[in-house]
């Protein structure tokens, strides 16, 4: 009796400790530098067009051109929603990879088997001055493996809390053997371990075997993730679709498909799927945000505004959202709300987003031809974020307009250097709070409007620079958005027909109230 009680308490504590650091494995997927650069899982180095996430843009491109909608370093259009992996591009060289920011904010770990997971484990250790609760080295795994109740709790503890994948794998292997390979749960755990260790093929096998026994949404998601890691996006989509046959309307499966389409730059398909998601869950933040971003970049700011407003009504309240609302209001000619939104965004902005908000305000200033204000805003953006390439670019153009050829040239060159030298995340204009997003990232992204940087290349000699000036002023007068900015995404609402028409008129009042 005592023994049973002791075991119950032990199990409870194990689970409690695990719960402290539990992470949704399916969502968190970050490729480490080592995985990216020393990838030996790719099947085809030269893949056929439209079949690889590594070469986005080779499929039949739909949606706005990259000149209109900013892209990440790797060529994928910016998403409306920040999630793990949307920030960094794929570095081309080791040098670039190593130089990529690896702060707590934007870190790309060296390998996925260390990095963030280590930090999680370490953090829990730090909080336990007495040392670890369970001393793994002294455990007899085969004893625990034969006792399913204890083994599962122990496994999760090892896997999540201790982050000791090898021991977890050993336990899982013994346990699945102990139950004669009849428990799908152990197969999934084995797959997780293999996945963490980079043995994607083995992970795939385990997952398929588990699926034969028991169809679970999680297994489909995990299997899709394995295929994505193997750079087989089409197979992954196929897998998710099989899952959808078993679980019609499962939004996590739909969302995964949409993300892959986004990665393949098939924006029309992605938006279609996101709209499907909203049919089943009209409070789905990611879908709303991505659809809104899509509308914004396809010249329908009024539609984007509707979606962003929906996010606001749902309780999302952050700088990105207000920034995006401000931009949408401006481009949809609802001027009275524009600056209010930006002021709100400024007051809510954290270090990560402040620069982008200033940058966008600078854009609005350009739009009303207040170049002095624009100049100050871009400088403020740079004060907040010194490697904001877009702000440098715009500043350079403004300098040139003022006749400061020399300084304009230098500024533009800086911008080019920043953009060109692998400041993936920042320079690509994607900002957002990935940080707190272990479970479901909620923070929308900033999307950016940028002009091309190429023509600054030729500004080496002064004549060339001078001759470019008219071109730049052209940028300004026509677009106002020559280089600008962004928005964030939001969440959103049901597809169009769900927001009733009559709400449209009342919506402004609502927005005013909310503000």
């Amino acid at each position: 009796m005592d023994l049973v009680l002791t075991q119950a308490a032990w199990t409870l504590k194990t689970q409690a400790l695990t719960g402290q650091v539990y992470v949704d494995e399916v969502e968190v997927d970050e490729e480490g530098i080592a995985e990216v650069l020393m990838d030996d899982n790719v099947i085809a180095n030269v893949s056929r067009p439209g079949t690889s996430l590594r070469k986005p843009g080779t499929s039949s491109q739909s949606g706005p051109s990259p000149g209109v909608r900013p892209t990440s370093q790797s060529g994928r259009p910016l998403s409306g929603f920040v999630r793990p992996g949307t920030q960094g591009g794929r570095p081309g060289t080791m040098e670039q990879a190593i130089r990529t920011p690896r702060t707590a904010h934007t870190a790309r770990p060296v390998t996925s088997s260390s990095g963030r997971f280590v930090r999680l484990g370490t953090a829990s250790m730090l909080s336990n001055p007495d040392g670890p609760f369970i001393n793994l080295a002294r455990l007899n795994f085969s004893k625990y493996a034969s006792r399913p109740n204890l083994a599962k709790a122990l496994f999760e503890y090892i896997f999540h809390h201790e982050n000791d994948i090898r021991n977890a794998l050993e336990l899982a292997a013994l346990a699945t053997e102990a139950c004669q390979f009849k428990d799908w749960w152990w197969k999934v755990q084995l797959a997780k371990c293999y996945y963490r260790l980079g043995m994607y093929r083995d992970a795939g096998k385990q997952l398929k075997s588990a699926l034969d026994q028991q169809a679970m949404v999680d297994i489909f998601l995990y299997l899709g993730k394995v295929y994505v890691r193997l750079d087989q996006p089409l197979t992954a989509i196929e897998t998710y679709k099989q899952g959808l046959e078993k679980f019609p309307g499962e939004t996590s499966l739909l969302t995964s498909i949409a993300r892959i389409y986004e990665g393949l730059t098939e924006m029309d398909n992605a938006v279609k799927i996101y709209k499907d998601v909203l049919q089943f869950d009209n409070m789905h933040v990611e879908a709303i945000a991505c659809i809104a971003t899509h509308y914004f970049y396809t010249d329908q700011p009024e539609m984007a505004l509707k979606f962003y407003r929906r996010l606001l009504q749902m309780g999302v309240y952050n700088a990105e959202l207000f920034n995006n609302l401000g931009l949408c209001c401006f481009y949809a000619q609802q001027y009275d709300m524009t600056l209010t939104c930006f002021q709100r965004a400024l007051s809510l902005a954290d270090d990560q987003t402040l620069a982008d908000v200033w940058f966008n305000i600078g854009h609005v200033a350009l739009g009303i031809c207040d170049h002095k204000l624009a100049y100050q805003c871009f400088r403020l953006a740079l004060a907040s974020n010194n490697d904001h390439a877009e702000a440098y670019n715009n500043l350079g153009v403004l300098e040139l307009k003022r006749g400061h050829v020399e300084s304009g040239r230098d500024t533009c060159k800086l911008s080019f250097n920043l953009r060109g030298e692998g400041f993936h995340s920042k320079a690509s204009g994607v900002h957002g709070g990935e940080v707190n997003s272990y479970h479901r990232p909620v923070a929308p992204t900033f999307a950016g409007r940028r002009s091309e940087y190429k023509w600054f290349l030729s500004s080496e000699d002064r004549h060339a620079t001078v001759s470019h000036i008219p071109k730049m002023s052209f940028f300004f007068t026509i677009g106002g958005t020559a280089v600008l900015s962004e928005t964030t995404s939001l969440r959103f609402a049901p597809s169009e027909d769900r927001i009733s028409r009559d709400r449209a008129s009342g919506s402004w009042e609502n927005l005013c109230d909310l503000l």
Partner: protein, 601 residues
């Protein structure tokens, strides 16, 4: 200069096949045609030569570059076409030459048939007069007066009566005596000629002749019996014809008339359908139909394009007067356009409204034909005002780009933008904007003033802070960057770039310093760091910077060891100092990357 260059780079689309400057041809586009009249695959050029304009009119047939046969024509030719009038093998087409009121048909280059247009009705009073004259019941003077009054009433008289009116009173009697016994006839003159397939659309199907006359009518002739199948009245005299369709099924005749209008006639309508009338601002000098569009060149140097329904698509001004038009439909390349011969000795080729090629000729071109000639597919035959004959062959490599050679907006400007449809939401918002314009503007302006104030405050704060490291710390803008941190401070002549490399526990910090001023060197600078010494250890704590030459990039680096394996990181400050100044010139805040722990055992 510019145009010369264009000449040299565009005219390389054509090969000069044949030049005959002494061909002494006096002819126009309507009097030239290209046809395989021997059914041997060797296409001939058939030209009705107007001779001197009053005599020596000839029908000339060229085989390759040789004159193959010549036939005298009695009157001035106004049109030449070839058409199939039977189904016999070999399929040799007949040549029809319009001249005065007659159509001469040649088969196998031999005269075959002469068709005369039906005589027109004679005014009863005129008929009566001549009847009386035959019986000498009327005096010449009265006859002339009556005819004169008839003419002034607007009646159309026969040529005989018109001639009579021109004569001196003394010659009247003789003229009447000579003419009175012959029957009185009123005839018209053919102005233009075309063909219309009868009931099959094949290339060698039997065709009807379509004839426009001076009597403001269009006739369709049966090819076998040479009877008039259909007569259509027009408001004016037709001068150019464009026919398509099948007579027995559905056809459409587009005709431009001397009154400056273009009429469309459809099967079943005896009169031009008025709703399809196109009114031109000037008289037409050429008309071609390509696909569904009608191209008309007018005397005011304009080329117009209309849809089949008469809607104007565009018009462009030519650099000189238009002499003639010819449609170019080159199927092997899928190119269709219109060649325009101009009064400045150019032939310009337009694809839709874009000039794609210019051919410079020695003289003003008056006759143009494009098509099969000899064994070549794309041949352009040109005759000039001075009587020369030129033949050019389109090169197989020739490519007509849609590039616009003429000045004006580039072709890209005409590409339709993918502008999304206006949403209902947009309309609603526009309404709101319209209704609340004043309030919105006021709000915006007020917000704008506030914003400017805020921005100015922040800006001043940033200016102050950049000079003061402690203030930077308090300012939210002093964000940290790990690997690349670039600061172009307000001290304009120094630029820095900080880069942290490595995965840990040892990192390398590189400081790039550049003196950006043009003339002044920077001296006595120092670089130092501020950091938590429990966490980091710098190999070099102070770096002395030698004199900085303007423009060069200097690199200084220091290794940093991370002393903790707990996965924590901190920020590190880099100061660029100048000796003798208490404030740093530049402050950089770098947030260090998390050191990768020693790989898990």
């Amino acid at each position: 200069m510019d145009s010369k260059e264009k000449l040299s780079d565009t005219s390389d689309k054509w090969l000069d096949a044949y030049n005959d400057r002494v061909a002494s041809l006096y002819t126009f586009t309507q009097c030239m045609t290209l046809s395989d009249i021997k059914a041997d695959g060797d296409w001939k050029l058939i030209i009705a030569d107007l001779g001197t304009g009053s005599y020596d009119m000839k029908l000339k047939v060229y085989k390759n570059t040789n004159l193959m046969s010549e036939h005298t024509i009695m009157d001035l030719p106004t049109g030449v076409v070839t058409f199939y009038l039977d189904t016999l093998e070999p399929r040799t087409p007949a040549i029809a030459v319009a001249s005065g009121p007659y159509i001469y048909i040649y088969k196998n280059l031999r005269p075959y048939f002469k068709f005369t247009l039906p005589p027109l009705e004679i005014h009863p009073v005129e008929q009566d007069l001549w009847d009386q004259a035959r019986q000498d019941h009327v005096s010449p003077i009265i006859m002339k007066e009556t005819l004169e009054s008839l003419r002034q009433e607007g009646a159309t008289l026969t040529t005989r009566s018109l001639r009579l009116l021109q004569l001196d009173p003394s010659d009247l009697d003789t003229f009447i005596q000579v003419q009175k016994s012959a029957p009185l006839k009123r005839q018209t003159v053919i102005t233009c000629l075309g063909t219309l397939k009868k009931n099959l659309a094949d290339d060698d199907a039997i065709s009807c002749l379509v004839i426009g006359t001076e009597s403001k009518a269009i006739y369709v002739l049966d090819p076998e019996a040479f009877t008039v199948l259909a007569t259509m009245e027009l408001p004016s005299v037709p001068v150019f014809l464009s026919v398509n369709g099948l007579y027995d099924v559905e056809y459409r005749i587009v005709t431009s008339c001397r009154n400056g209008c273009v009429y469309t006639i459809k099967r079943g309508s005896n009169e031009a359908v008025v709703k399809h009338t196109i009114e031109l601002k000037s008289q037409p000098v050429g008309m071609e139909r390509i696909g569904k569009n009608i191209y008309v060149g007018t005397m005011d140097q304009m080329l117009h394009c209309f849809t089949a329904k008469g809607k104007k698509l565009w018009s462009i001004k030519m650099p000189a007067t238009i002499m003639t038009l010819e449609a170019i439909d080159f199927k092997p390349k899928g190119f269709s356009g219109v060649a325009v011969a101009l009064g400045n000795s150019q032939v310009q080729i337009y694809k839709e409204k874009y000039l794609t090629d210019v051919i410079h000729t020695e003289d003003v071109v008056t006759g143009l034909r494009f098509g099969h000639f000899a064994r070549e597919d794309g041949t352009l035959v040109m005759t000039t005002r001075s009587g020369s004959l030129f033949v050019k062959i389109l090169k197989r490599t020739a490519k007509f780009e849609e590039r616009d050679l003429s000045a004006g907006p580039p072709a890209a400007q005409n590409v339709k933008l993918n502008v999304p449809k206006k949403t209902k939401l947009f309309v609603d918002q526009t309404l709101r904007e319209r209704e609340n314009a004043v309030a919105m503007h006021r709000t915006f302006q007020r917000d704008l003033y506030l914003l400017r104030l805020n921005v100015a405050r922040e800006y001043v704060k940033a200016l102050e802070n950049s000079m003061n490291p402690h203030l930077i710390r308090s300012h939210r803008a002093s964000q940290a960057y790990s690997s690349g941190w670039l600061l172009e401070q307000l001290k304009p002549n120094l630029k820095t770039l900080f880069v942290v490399q490595g995965v840990g526990p040892t990192f390398r910090l590189t400081v790039n310093l550049q003196n950006t001023s043009l003339t002044q060197v920077s001296t006595s600078l120092l670089i130092t760091f501020e950091y938590d010494d429990k966490l980091y250890s710098f190999h070099k704590k102070l770096i002395q910077v030698p004199m900085l030459v303007p423009g060069l990039m200097y690199l200084y680096e220091s290794f940093i060891d991370c002393l903790s394996d707990k996965g924590v990181s901190d920020t590190v400050k880099v100061y660029v100092l100048k000796q003798g100044r208490s404030m740093p010139l530049i402050t950089g805040v770098i947030s260090m990357p998390v050191s990768e722990a020693v790989v898990l055992s």
